[in-house]
């Protein structure tokens, strides 16, 4: 076919005529990028995250009676009932792929914000890319403190970071010590990317401040084929508390190798990650009776706040799992972001950023044990109180902080 001048003119006229419709159609939906590992070693976390975001999307886009921002009524009232549409992208746990995918989401998919990313190491590059394009980055489940400390304008995190989590652990040790339990020595076991190193740094700092002795500090390479040498060193150190910061694969191998080498730690207090995943307890739960992990979420809250149970049911219907430390944070991240877009009444990055900065959601209107959601000038919510959970009889019970305690901690573990 040859293209004549008339064809071109006709086409141009058609485009011009349709353009206003297209732009009007755009405001009826708000496009948000969701960036997770959907393949590779951590793909399962990405798949679970997808289910959490689908649950949040259900709450936001459909009419629910929950006392949560954006639950009542359909869509975002501030944008004439516009619905949120999520675009998922896969970063495979690789910071460079994360950067490239963030760029693609912003420039080609025209997302107005990005939420992600599970691995803190990927959040580093994704948040830098967002900053460059002036698009808000909502860190749902990254826990490295150095993320917000960089002072990015477009970085926001509603959940606690590992210094807050670690402080909760040491507060708990102090309380136990006061009651006469012997806790003097600690062994750190952490993977070697920003998550593990930041976590270990926070733990080392607090241990020094509060007079605990670190007798082993083992940094290992993630997804290693064997942990025998590492576990051997932990066994020799035989600390009062073993503190792992590990993803699921290494967590499973750690517990299996400890059993094989005849090492029974006195107590384990984990920096969540792998230790809040169902897969780990399916594999080695029988060896973990009494393990303690930090968390940002506790199902025990459902007794006080029935909405938590209802939302857990909504998520379970999609995923077959209960909400955990990660999926609960992912759910809340999208709700907080939607609330900001709604108040911004716009999909402009700068306006959403301003609305996020002005966020003030009381704790009761979340599914978390938090005081409230309010961001400081670094984009960090300092009123997100962490909890400590203990794995007893096949489920988690809250053992700290004092106001949320359901059961007395079992110490040492079985």
């Amino acid at each position: 076919m040859t293209i004549t001048r008339r064809n071109v003119l006709l086409g141009a006229t058609a485009v011009a005529a349709l353009a206003p419709i297209a732009s009007r159609a755009q405001t009826s939906e708000v496009v948000i990028g969701v960036l997770y590992p959907l393949s590779g070693a951590s793909a399962q976390q990405g798949v679970d995250a997808q289910k959490a975001y689908e649950a949040a999307l259900d709450v936001i886009n459909k009419n629910h009676e929950f006392d949560l921002p954006m639950a009542k009524g359909e869509g975002l009232s501030g944008l004439g009932g516009a619905k949120i549409r999520l675009i998922y992208a896969d970063h495979q746990g690789d910071p460079q792929k994360g950067r490239a995918e963030a760029e693609r989401l912003i420039t080609q998919e025209k997302v107005c914000a990005i939420v992600g990313t599970y691995q803190s190491s990927v959040a580093v590059t994704v948040s830098q890319t967002c900053e460059r394009y002036q698009i808000p980055f909502m860190s749902a489940d990254n826990s490295s403190p150095s993320l917000h400390a960089r002072g990015l304008k477009f970085f926001f995190r509603a959940a606690p970071h590992d210094e807050m989590f670690t402080k909760a652990m040491f507060d708990f040790y102090d309380a136990l010590k006061k009651k006469g339990t012997k806790i003097e020595t600690l062994a750190l076991f952490h993977e070697d990317t920003i998550f593990g190193t930041d976590s270990a740094n926070a733990q080392t700092k607090l241990a020094n401040e509060r007079g605990y002795k670190i007798v082993a500090d083992i940094k290992y390479r993630s997804n290693t084929p064997s942990l025998s040498a590492e576990v051997q060193q932990l066994k020799v150190a035989n600390a009062d508390v073993l503190m792992p910061s590990s993803y699921t694969t290494d967590g499973i191998l750690l517990v299996k190798t400890m059993a094989e080498l005849g090492y029974k730690p006195n107590a384990i207090v984990a920096q969540a990650a792998g230790f809040s995943e169902k897969a780990l307890y399916d594999a080695v739960g029988d060896k973990l009776e009494g393990v303690i992990t930090r968390g940002s979420f506790s199902l025990d809250l459902a007794a006080k706040r029935p909405m938590v149970g209802a939302i857990n049911a909504l998520f379970k219907e999609k995923s077959g799992k209960d909400l955990n430390d990660n999926t609960s944070r992912e759910f809340m991240a999208l709700v907080v972001l939607a609330d900001a877009v709604n108040r911004a009444k716009s999909t402009d990055g700068e306006k959403i950023r301003a609305a996020l900065a002005a966020t003030e959601i009381p704790g009761e209107q979340t599914i978390m044990p938090w005081k409230r959601v309010k961001f400081d000038e670094m984009g960090q919510n300092n009123d997100a109180d962490p909890v400590l959970l203990q794995y007893i009889g096949g489920k988690f019970v809250t053992i700290s902080p004092p106001q949320g305690v359901v059961a007395e901690a079992v110490w040492p573990m079985k």
Binding site: A43, R221, A229, V236, T249, A259, E260, L261
Partner: protein, 292 residues
Amino acid sequence: MTAQTIIQSLASGLLMGLLYGLIAVGLALIFGLMDVVNFAHGEFLMIAMYATFFLFAFFAIDPLLSAPLVAAALFVFGAVVYLLIVRFAVRAKANAGMVQIFSTFGLAIVMRGLAQYFFTPDYRSVTHSWLGGKTVSIGGIFLPEPQLIGAAVAIAAFGGLYFFINRTDFGRALEATREDAGAVALVGIDKNRVFALGWGLGAALVGLAGAIMSIFFYIYPDVGASFALIAYVTVALGGFGSVFGAFAGGIIVGLVEATTALLLPPSLKAVGIYAVYLLVVFVRPRGLFGSM
């Protein structure tokens, strides 16, 4: 550092090293036979682990019993991969090397993708088995039973393979085809059949390793990646194409890894392996037992 710590580390390293050898030998065999590096070797290991897992999950067959079944299944799989893919890849007229690399590399990606699609990316484990979690303690040195059996199987497999290659007609045909694939056709040996059986044998050996490993390792679509990397180093260290080299290479890698973790921070333990590998490449580029 006590003597006990050192002995424990070396013992763990030796057991792991024998398994590394068993994983790598299939790779060495296939390379020796037809100069093709199978980049899907780690994925062969992965499907062997999944096969073991599913036999356990659906039919409650213990990994020790299913090991021969899995090895047999992998034998068929390996032969089919040769007949359907590699046979055509090696015929490429131009850029034959690249075509071979990309065909097995592509196969690896497809297998990983299919595994993720059909088996989900969730981490699986054989939760209870005859040997799982059992361990023998000799004077404070702990030897996990699954790894002990794995080491025994590896030694038996190498013994069997040695006998097979040196004492049977097919083994001689294998050696002859490897020396000169053109000349064997003159004496009536079907080259394709030998290659297919070679691929089958190589896959069966990694299948055996996968079945044993699923007793003590987690299983997910990417599980092959880190083991495949070690297998490539093992083969390169021991000498490309040398079956005995893979055996020795595996033991060396296991021991070096354990020793490095004793001396350096464990996150650097791979450094020791690659340092030894570099040294070998400088001193003896064809690998320790390479005959090329």
